[in-house]
Amino acid sequence: MAFYHPNHELLMQFAAGQLNDALGIMVACHIENCAECRATARNYEQLGGEIMESLDNIELSPDFIARTMERLKDSDETEIEVKIPVVDKRLPKPLQRFLPNKLEQLPWYGFSKNIQQFDLSFSDSHYTAKFYKIKAGKELPEHTHKGNEYTLVMDGAFSDDAGSYHAGDFILADNTTRHTPRAHEDCDCICFAVMDAPLKLTGFWGRMLNPFIS
C-alpha cells in the first residue's frame, strides 16, 4: 500500500482528462494499486458529470438525430477488443504498451553503472518521462530541481532526508527540494520520473539562449 499519493489537484485534472501524457500515465499507474486515490478520482469524475449536467443545453442541428441513426445503421456493431500484451507483470497496466521489454532487458544507458536511465516514448516538449535505476545501496549526488519532478517508485525502495519510499509511492519534488536519494541495500530501485521543462531562464537574454522555450 502506498504512503505517498498524488495531490487532489492532480487527481482532479486526471478525472477531467486534462493531464499531459506523461503525468496522466503516472497517475493511472498509481491509481491502479491505490484504492483511496481511485475513489477520489471517481468522485472527481462524478463532479465532471455534474458539471456537464449543469451546462445549458445547446441546440442540435435539425438533422443531427437522423444523421446519428444513419451512422448507427452503417456502423459495425461489434466492439473490437484490443488485448494489451503484458511485457512485465510487475508493472502497472498503463505502462505495458510503452515498454519493449522486461525491466532488466530495457536498453538502459547512463554515465555511471550506479545510475542508469531509460527514456519513455510519451515525453513531449514540456514533460520528460524516464525510468531511473539506482543500484542497491547507491545514492544520487545531492541535487535540487528546476521546476517539478514527479516520481513513482516501481520496484525496490529509496530514502532521502524526508522519508522512505516504496513501490507505488508517488512523490513530488519542487525547486525547494534538495535531496540525496539512496536506494535501499536489498535491491536496485527503479523509479518512473516525470520532469517539467528542465530549464527555464527568464528575461530577454535568457529566452534567447534557452532552447527549450519556443
Partner: protein, 211 residues
C-alpha cells in the same frame, strides 16, 4: 447562442429534474444493452446530446467538431451499453467519462503511439462495490456542492475541467495571483472532500436506522 439565456429554474427544481433525467437515461442505456433497442438509442440521443454538445463546445470545439464528438460518443454508448452498471455509476457520470475519453482519442487520432484513453482508464477494472444508497447520496451531494460553491471557485473548477489550463495560466487569464487560484481551488476541493466524509456518516446513520 448565449448559454445564459433560457428559463430561470429554481435550484431545488433543477436538481430534481437532473435526477429524473439521470434515471430516465439509466433505463434507456439498460434497454440498449439488453435488446439493442434502436428506439431507446434515439431517445437517449435526443435527451443527452444537447448537454454533450455543450460540453464539447466548452472544451473548445467548433459546432461541426462538437457534433462529430457527440456522435462518436453516442456510438460508443451503443457498443458499450453492456458495461454500464447503474449500481456503480450514474448515467451522467458514465456519459461524461465516455465523452471525455472520446475527446482525448479524437485529438490524437493519427498518433497511435501516443497515450490513448484506454491506457489511462484500462477497461475491465473491477469496480469497488457500492450500493444504490451510496450512489444516490454521492450524486446528490456532488450536485449540492457544485451549487453551493461561490462563483469565483466554480469558475476555476470549470476551467480545470474544460480548458485544461494550468493554475498559472488560469492566474494570468484572470489577472489574479497564483496563490489566490491555488487557495480557491483548494477550498473547492476541501468542500468536496468534507461532503464525501459526511456522506459516509449519513450512510452509517441510514444503516443504523434500517437494522
Amino acid at each position: 447562442m448565449d448559454p445564459k439565456q433560457g428559463p430561470i429554474v429554481k435550484e431545488s427544481k433543477l436538481s430534481q429534474t437532473a435526477s429524473e433525467t439521470s434515471y430516465q437515461m439509466d433505463d434507456l442505456i439498460l434497454r440498449i444493452a439488453k435488446t439493442q433497442d434502436q428506439q431507446a438509442f434515439m431517445e437517449l440521443a435526443e435527451l443527452a446530446s444537447p448537454r454533450l454538445k455543450a460540453y464539447a463546445i466548452r472544451c473548445g470545439a467548433d459546432i461541426d467538431d462538437a457534433e462529430e464528438l457527440v456522435q462518436e460518443c453516442l456510438l460508443t454508448v451503443w457498443r458499450k451499453a453492456h458495461q454500464f452498471n447503474p449500481k456503480t455509476a450514474r448515467s451522467t457520470t458514465w456519459l461524461y467519462t465516455i465523452i471525455r475519453n472520446k475527446r482525448i482519442d479524437i485529438a490524437r487520432k493519427n498518433k497511435l503511439d501516443t497515450v490513448q484513453s484506454d491506457d489511462l482508464w484500462p477497461e475491465g477494472e473491477t469496480e469497488d462495490l457500492e450500493d444504490d444508497v451510496e450512489r444516490d447520496l454521492t450524486g446528490e451531494l456532488v450536485r449540492t456542492l457544485l451549487q453551493s460553491l461561490p462563483d469565483e471557485q466554480r469558475q476555476i473548477v470549470f476551467k480545470v475541467y474544460f480548458e485544461g489550463k494550468s493554475h498559472s495560466e488560469i492566474a494570468a487569464e484572470l489577472d489574479l495571483p497564483l496563490g489566490t487560484i491555488k487557495s480557491r481551488l483548494r477550498l473547492a476541493m476541501k468542500k468536496l472532500d468534507t461532503l464525501a466524509k459526511e456522506q459516509v456518516t449519513w450512510l452509517f446513520i441510514i444503516l443504523i436506522m434500517n437494522f
